[in-house]
Amino acid sequence: MAAYVLRRVLWGVVLLALVSLLTFVVFYVLPSADPAQLRAGRNADPATLAQIRQNLGLDRPLTAQYWTFLTHLVLHADLGFSYYSGASVGSLLVDRLPATISLTFGAVVIWVLVAVPLGVVAAVRRGTWVDKLTTGGALLGISAPVYWLGLLALYLFADDIGTFPLLPGAGSYVPLTDDPWQWLTSLILPWLVLASTFTAVYARLLRGNMIEVLSEDYVRTARAKGLSERRVVWNHGLRAAVTPLVTLAGLDIGLLLGGAVLTEAVFGIPGIGRLNYEAIVHADYPVIQGTVLLAACFVIVANIAVDVAYAYLDPRVREQ
């Protein structure tokens, strides 16, 4: 197992190098917004532009630029400095990460706590109103775009613009360490909105898995043993039905940690997603490179974690 994980980690490093190269090619090599132009203003003279290019190091050969980036990253864990704010990319990421982590894990808790019971109950009571409500609601949840749902939530419940001003609105996020209560209340709406789509997807998937599992022979065996129906469903049934979802959840968490761009944008949460978005608007290449690499890191780590978790959950996988 340890050897397997080590191999996966090494592969992850190779993958990260490829991702950084690809990001580099997309933003530095292919024609896109010119950072110098954006900084110098509309009517800058060529000398100023050249000066800015030189300051940013954009006048050096592309291979040299990439090499510098790579060596700084590997040798000094240094992602460079933002063109826009001049702050180090590393410190920007560290500043923004807590907000994204708060957003992600709160949403995960909500969607797991809601989707699991919903999916199981819908499967057990297939065809009844509980099931129809769940599958219908799930369709709605899957179809509704996050930015629409987010704005709707703000118009309904935000304390500044809402019809029922119950919760802090957009831009009210504060770090947990500053004011835990404010942190909690300001995140409730974003959590619910972000969790809604995932709840819908997971409830539906779990319902499907569960229906399949409940017709398995080993569930019949569990009943034949005289186990209570509750134990048959929630222990024997759920155990098998939820395993594939753990994999999926791991990958989704990895993706979200890379930044829930839309949710962060709608609710004005200063997370990685918004950092990435702002960096693209400002052609802030080092920050783009940093956020993309961080997101790739999360996805790679999530993949490895999921494989390890799967081996733990399914002994048949462990052998291989």
Binding site: E216, D217, Y218, R220, T221, A222, R223, A224, K225, G226, L227, S228, E229, R231, H236, R239, A240, T243, L313, D314, P315, R316, E319
Partner: protein, 358 residues
């Protein structure tokens, strides 16, 4: 091979009376079990034989209360020591399942939970019926049970997952689980079908030994008359949801009465068959249970069919000389005796027909 009947035959512990089970499906009502009666006494084995789809499994799982739902209709009685299981509450059935009646299933790989240790699954069966039993005690008992079904290194195997055991070991573990609460009735549904031939014999021997040790009544469901010949005291042959022949095992093999039973016997490989004797499959396929054939349900596949058989539905009736031997066939006893004599002598079957449409 079978022990002679005990001096004073004990009254049956499980008695199925006129059991009918129907499923509503998109294609219509499937009458899976259509008026079946049988019983089994402690220490005895009833073999239920038939092709897939003959209703043999449905009859047994219904008795366990495992067949239920809005689309299922059952009638008749399933009496366990006089208590009607079809009328029992779900909670009462749960208490009886795994405690008074236990079941062993066909394919132990799919019947055991793939993600749970074998010992855990056995311990769970124990604790489902013994509220006060500690986890440690249940585990200890699980080891004993695995030893009882002759699993070597039981103390290590108790922590194995099903996929880590061989097919035979898995079925032994399955049997250990069924025996956990020393049930009075054991229903074994094709317990050897998924296993290698050599392992099949071991499992049958194990079931016989445990039946005798624990004095259980055993219902052995199989498509294989060979399995029944080795183990059962009495045999019921099922066809299309009904019993077509029922007799003490020795009697059935000595003088089978129903053309379907003959078909099963002729399609069974035998070591004592004359060299070169061909195995003869039963022509045609099992009939639809939504629209069963008119008259005798076996008539489309029967080589001895007469016109009358297409309209008259035979009842299961005792033979004149052997009240325990019952058959549902419209041929006369003398006709049947003559035909069986020819078959037993290895002659080609007179009147045998080609595969005809059902």
């Amino acid at each position: 091979m079978n022990p002679s009947p005990p001096p004073a035959p004990r009254p049956p512990i499980l008695r199925v009376e006129d059991l009918r089970v129907a499923f509503d499906t998109r294609d219509g009502v499937v009458q899976a079990v259509d008026g079946v009666s049988w019983s089994v006494a402690p220490g005895r084995t009833l073999g239920i034989v038939g092709e897939s789809g003959s209703g043999k499994t449905v009859a047994a799982t219904t008795a366990m209360g495992l067949v239920h739902g809005a689309r299922v209709r059952t009638s008749g009685r399933v009496l366990l020591e006089g208590e009607d299981l079809l009328a029992a509450s779900p909670e009462r059935l749960r208490r009886l399942r795994g405690a008074a009646i236990a079941m062993v299933f066909q394919d132990p790989l799919s019947a055991l939970h793939p993600l749970m240790r074998v010992g855990t699954q056995i311990a769970e069966a124990l604790r489902a019926h013994r509220a006060g039993m500690s986890a440690a005690a249940a585990r200890e008992r699980a080891v004993e049970l695995l030893e009882q079904v002759a699993i070597p290194n039981a103390r290590q195997r108790v922590d194995a997952y099903p996929h880590e055991l061989s097919g035979g070991m898995r079925q032994r573990a399955m049997i250990a689980m069924a025996l956990a609460n020393e049930p009075r009735v054991l229903i074994a549904d094709e317990p050897t079908t998924a296993l290698d031939v050599t392992v099949q014999r071991q499992i049958l021997a194990l079931l016989r030994r445990l039946r005798d040790e624990l004095g259980m009544a055993m219902v052995l469901i199989t498509h294989d008359l060979g399995v029944v010949a080795e183990t059962a005291d009495e045999v019921a042959v099922m066809y299309a949801g009904r019993i077509v022949e029922q007799a003490p095992a020795a009697e059935l093999f000595a003088a089978p009465q129903h053309p379907y039973t003959w078909g099963l016997l002729r399609s069974m490989p035998r070591l004592d068959a004359p060299a070169g004797a061909a195995l003869v499959p039963i022509p045609g396929r099992p009939p639809s249970l939504v629209h069963p054939p008119s008259g005798c349900r076996f008539h489309p596949r029967c080589p001895y069919v007469r016109d009358r058989h297409r309209s008259v539905d035979p009842a299961l009736e005792p033979l004149a000389g052997a009240p325990q031997h019952r058959v549902a066939c419209l041929l006369s006893e003398t006709e049947r005796a003559a035909i069986w004599a020819r078959i037993a002598a290895g002659e080609p079957v007179a009147g045998a027909t080609e595969d005809r449409p059902v």
